[in-house]
Amino acid sequence: MKIPYAFAVVLAFSVLCLSVMGAAAQGSFDLSFLNVLHGMFICPWADQCQLSLIEQQILTDIRLPRILMALLAGAGLSVTGAILQSVTRNPLADPYLFGISSGAALGAVLAMSAFSGMLAATGLSVVLNVTTGALAGGALSVFLMLTLAGKSAIQVEKLLLSGVAVSFMLSAFTSLVIYYSTPETAATLLFWLMGSFSGSNWADLMLPFLAVTLGSGLFFIFSRWLVVMQLGEESAATLGVPVHKLRLGMLLVCSAITAILVAEVGGIGFVGLMIPHIVRLLVGGQLHRVLLMSLLIGATFMIWVDVLAHSLLQDQVLPVGIVTSALGSLFFFIILKQRQSR
């Protein structure tokens, strides 16, 4: 099933570009593919814009930010998954491994329910919105995981166990807060937890964009060492790789990317786990290939998941997390069946 790498990159990149435009033509408001092209490439620079103001606004203020957010989330979660899988040498690692999503959820939940009432009086509610709450919660979970693991954080198994413990602890708090909040808040929270790109605007894109580009840059810079580490930690150390520092650094970068993405779009499972596996099937296990292709395919996948979430039900938007989890489990069943029959 493997395809030549250069061809795969070109193909994946073109598909991604086409997907951005194709997805912009999808939606309840009718906008043709040609109109999208016209709106994207002619309207911003020339005066001969043939699109109505409404059409332009729908395209640039609603659809494009949403699509780009999906692109960033897909790319970021996939590349983070690929890195975590190679750093922990565990094919089942994914970006939510360290309780980041539960930490972010707790932060968001607190920001939405309990404190918002208290802080509204003091005028601080603007600062403590869902995104900042989630970001703080994600940071808290990483901090807790590292402090609780303490000195044994250099052993990957203990770090993972500590992460799982933190994850359950924070989930318990989140459930507690949801249990005591009003039904409307609870519904909003649950919907947020399942992930959505709706309501993204250009300003929201800034932080995820920086996180994903800078993070991926770091991953590519360190990929030579990461490959060595994938072959075994002790032998990596004998090759001059600072194994413990590298792993901790990569985990922190992954955590930061994940926390920022979760803060913006909520919990979207399975992507970080599934996309790197698909990529390895397509272009083999070479790390820099896996990283680049994960970015491209993850982004494309997420854009179409978002389109699917918008179009599956009439006049209703499904949470993205539901669609990714459903597709993801289906994918793993297929892989499992194929392996069995071989």
């Binding site: 899988q85 190679s86 040498r89 565990n90 094919p91 044994s152 250099i154 052993q155 810079i221 360190f222 030579r224 060492w225 490959v227 060595v228 994938q230 072959l231 075994g232 002790e234 032998s235 150390a237 004998t238 090759l239 001059g240 790789v241 600072p242 413990h244 390895r280 083999g284 296990g285 070479q286």
Partner: protein
Amino acid sequence: MVNQPQNNSHGPGDADLAHINVERLSLTLGVNAILRDISFTVECGSLTGIVGPNGAGKSSLLRAIYCHRYDQPASLSGQVMIAGHPVHKMNRRERACKIAVVLQESALPFEVSVREVLATGLTPRKPLLSFTSRDDTQLIERIAADLDVMRFIDRDFGSLSGGEKQRVLIARALVQQPQILLLDEPTNHLDIQHQIETLSLVRSLGVTVLLTIHDLNMAGAYCDQLLVLNKGQLVANGKPDQVLNRELIQDVFRVSADVAIVRNTHTQERRIRIAYDMPSRVPVAAQPSREFRK
């Protein structure tokens, strides 16, 4: 067989200088003394075997030489010098340029081609941000050809047999262009043919080699020098025929054996041969099968 790296100032030529010099090395892990007061020297270009029963500290001795960092509290005293330079004062990279280590291979989680495994040997000499150059590729392919790894260079490492994997790992160590090669039980899990192949290969490399090994006959046949460890202490050090004798094997391994020097009828080589006393008929203490028959 494989060309020496250009920057190897202490090649097998200048034998006046001991290549590895270990002085009063002791290692304690937690409360357990693993190595006690070990001193020895290894000559340039020689093949030295470390033998001893399980848990004697063979792997720990190798680890002390390549400065393994333990997860638990470890206290190390004494000194390990490579060509006159103390290893613990080198940084990781300098050390990795001098010492290559072949560990017992572990299972890999993902598919990796042999070529990629070999390329990781370049790590200590390449800056973090760099592409594999044509020279690098030539080096890898030359070593792969020398070690007969070329015919499966594009296959998945995980799909190779034990002997092939061992060759690849040795080839990777050579891509590192080391002065010293350390191997942790390179013949483990290999059949006789591949054990002989691996040891002959290691012998022919021309670098200073230090390896741990269980099979005393193999050790006697291929090593220039043997270090016998028992309970963390160096109990014997010398040429195989000086070291391996009935008393030592009885003391260290708790096995009685006949040790003889034999002449190979084909090659006329004189070689040490150890025949262990293996009780051929082990008395069965309890025979539950008879009771079951009732």
